[in-house]
Amino acid sequence: MKHSQLKEIIKKKASKIEFAIVTNLENGLSEIYEPGKSLSKEFEIHKEQIDNFFKLKKNGVIENTEIFIETYIRPIKVIIVGAVHIAQYLVDFAKSLNFEISIIDPRGYFASEQRFPDMKIINKWPDEAFKEIETNGNCALIALTHDPKIDDPALQHALNKKFYYIGALGSKKTHENRCQRLKEAGFNSDQINSINGPIGIKLGGRSAPEIALSIIAQLVSETYKK
């Protein structure tokens, strides 16, 4: 592989687009393929199989050939509401995982670039912020403010868009009250029960990094149940 190609791959990874690296294991030739775009003569005849690897989200050698495909799929979007202390640890843990993180917090003094360097921060109320993020069932929401004014609209958006993971910080009592409010807002019990509250797996820890770890563990576990 050429150094220039390696740089191109790193750039594509950073811009979170879907692509594959296609390599001929016999002669060492390789190229980057983006779904829907064309391939060079060398690999053109394998296009159908390469697209199939994308559909199956897998890596491997095409049967009876010496062509290796490595697919890079778009990372899962994780939206954190509340640029609080726990969020700082969450972002740290998530760095080595393939998640695309956005942080929403209308309180500018919390969601500052200094506290979250290199992160996508939206200093708006959730209703406004979600206009800037395309969301669907492949998204996850982590609500951390335990302030109904901020968390509730985000939770409602996530329920309406059928996020595969929704978690909300707060005690059992806080969560009961939250569920009651969502019921009054017209959400049914299946929808409300899909919210992980109190958020995180039971690790026992109470400190910010421990809570962040319990949340990220639950998020990864739910991601693999999909």
């Binding site: 592989m1 790193i10 002669n27 060492g28 390789s30 890596n59 050698v61 799929i73 080595s96």
Partner: protein, 109 residues
């Protein structure tokens, strides 16, 4: 759903190249049986044998490092190697878990 870990090995390879080191990229391309690391797992090796990442969780890394150094010395662009189940004898390179893996080595230049 696939949500692969992002181990930043390629980014590290880029750093090594920018520091004028020679770099071989080793990638797991096929696995059979119970192998410890999935297809697409990577490690990088430089001309002095420094390495980062892993292709087997520790079982065959030493052999991969040797092969990579050989590739640089012979100035070959690429090579495919396979590792099978290890036998009981100590120090023999192989996969204690009973799996088999194929690893593709390529020089980046």
């Amino acid at each position: 759903m696939k949500n692969s870990f992002d181990e930043k090995i390629l980014e590290e390879a880029n750093d090594w190249l920018n520091a004028n080191q020679k770099v071989v990229l080793a990638t797991v391309i096929q696995t059979w049986g119970s192998s410890p690391r999935q297809v697409g797992s990577r490690m990088i090796v430089n001309e002095t044998g420094d390495f980062s990442g892993s292709v087997s969780g520790g079982c065959v890394e030493s052999a991969v490092v040797r092969e990579c150094i050989g590739l640089i010395k012979d100035n070959k662009p690429c090579k495919k190697i396979e590792f099978k189940v290890s036998n009981e004898s100590a120090w023999e390179v192989g996969l204690a878990c009973g799996g088999e893996i194929a690893v593709y080595l390529e020089q980046i230049n």
